[in-house]
């Protein structure tokens, strides 16, 4: 979807401020959001593409008014409700419980000890690569053009790089396709290409000099470039 999350090239967001000696988390709840997200993912409640798409579906003004982990929280909560793991009513009631009890810990709301057997989140084992089932359509050096138009659902082709000509710089392997995987339509793996775009192709005469942007793009985002600019 072409939402406010698709920020490449946008104006109006001001300067980049770096925080000296930034701590890993600014509050413990941020770490808790990471744990909840990983546990849900590890339990197979949702995949990473569904998670990213869930965040994209935040109301646009809330997306822009929220911090990174607030957006994660929103994305995880939406999926846990949509997937039927928790009900919206239970989530609201439990939220009210803790709102009335500042400082309470998560298990204070439990009437019995939690059941055994919960997964501990693990890191690093997942792979997004899949075996190739067909030769790749493009080779390094090929001129390609990206798909034009709006994205109907989740996509990883940014808006600033639509209908633009570039050159294949690398074959990245065959990967799970987010555009289907985010919508329950399977992994449908495709070759991914590292494609280089001259800044001038992307930004016209407002481009800075001597710049390229490289974007990793799935095969169905690309077609052979018929036009020469």
């Amino acid at each position: 979807m072409d939402g406010v999350h698709d920020l490449g090239g946008m104006h109006g967001f001001g300067r980049v401020d770096r925080e000296p000696d930034e701590p890993p988390f600014h509050a413990p709840w941020e770490g808790a959001v990471v744990a909840v997200m990983r546990a849900s993912g590890a339990a197979g409640v949702f995949n990473i593409d569904e998670f990213r798409h869930s965040i994209e579906r935040m109301e646009p003004d809330r997306y822009l008014a929220s911090t990174y982990y607030e957006r994660w929280l929103d994305g995880v909560a939406r999926l846990l409700v949509e997937k039927g793991v928790v009900t919206a009513a239970d989530l609201e009631a439990r939220t009210a419980f803790f709102r009335a009890r500042a400082g309470a810990s998560a298990d204070d709301a439990l009437s019995a000890p939690p059941p055994p057997g919960a997964l501990s989140p693990r890191r690093g084992a997942e792979t997004f690569f899949r075996p190739a089932t067909a030769p790749p359509r493009f080779a390094v050096g090929d001129r390609v053009r990206t798909r034009n138009g709006r994205a109907r659902g989740h996509t990883r082709l940014p808006r600033y790089a639509r209908d633009k000509a570039g050159v294949v710089a690398a074959l990245r392997g065959v990967c799970v396709f987010p555009d289907t995987n985010a919508h329950g339509r399977g992994e449908q793996p495709e070759p991914v290409y590292g494609v280089g775009f001259a800044a001038r192709e992307l930004w016209g005469d407002t481009a800075e000099p001597n710049q390229q942007v490289f974007i990793d793009l799935w095969e169905s985002y690309l077609e052979p470039d018929a036009r020469r600019g």
Binding site: H26, A35, P114, L202, E208, N210, Q211
Partner: protein
């Protein structure tokens, strides 16, 4: 303007606690999972794996070739399992910069937690379109004759910059060098400075 720092917002905290407690109840969240995540990132802050790889690459041309060409194996040498890193090398002719415009993808497994500025809206908006001006604002002046390559992490590949070694690096140990390498240098918004 997109807040960088969270409200101390009771409702957010209560909502997180609620999810935590509901998942505990259903056996989906281990009782120690939250503490483990927090302890992990508080102990293992910053980009230490990436910094070690870069320091070794500076000292060992063979390792550098492996890091650039067989990255997964080169990371395994350091005990890190991560099969999707791409390392891009800064040279006199090319400066590299990493961003994720669509969300905030970042090589957590190699470089730890992303800094808040990397996830900020202005960085995501500007890095692909006006990197030279952005870097200048951050104190890194890239001369016009040096190409800037911006890597937008749109797929599951993750990017790390191999910065240029600081002057005098040949006289330092790998461990000393690793301590000089900042997260910002691995993202491409800073050079590695020689320590005093």
């Amino acid at each position: 303007m997109g807040k960088n720092h969270p409200n101390v917002d009771d409702d957010v905290v209560s909502r997180v606690r609620a999810l935590e407690s509901l998942l505990l109840e259903k056996g989906l969240l281990a009782p120690d999972a939250v503490d483990r995540v927090i302890r992990h990132y508080e102990a293992d802050t910053g980009p230490m794996v990436g910094a070690r790889a870069v320091a070794r690459a500076w000292r060992d041309p063979g390792y550098k070739r492996r890091l650039l060409g067989e990255t997964t194996a080169a990371l395994a040498d350091l005990g890190v399992e991560f099969d999707r890193l791409v390392v891009v090398e800064n040279t006199p002719a090319v400066h590299n910069l990493v961003v994720c415009t669509l969300c905030s993808c970042y090589p957590w497994g190699v470089m730890g937690l992303p800094p808040t500025w990397y996830k900020s809206f202005p960085y995501r908006a500007r890095a692909v379109a006006e990197p030279r001006q952005l870097l200048a604002e951050l104190g890194l002046h890239v001369p016009p004759e040096r190409e800037i390559r911006v890597w937008d992490s749109s797929a599951e590949l993750r990017y790390m910059v191999l910065p240029a070694p600081p002057t005098g690096s040949e006289n330092r140990s790998e461990d000393e060098l690793a301590c000089l390498i900042t997260r910002d240098a691995l993202i491409g918004v800073a050079e590695v400075a020689a320590a005093g």
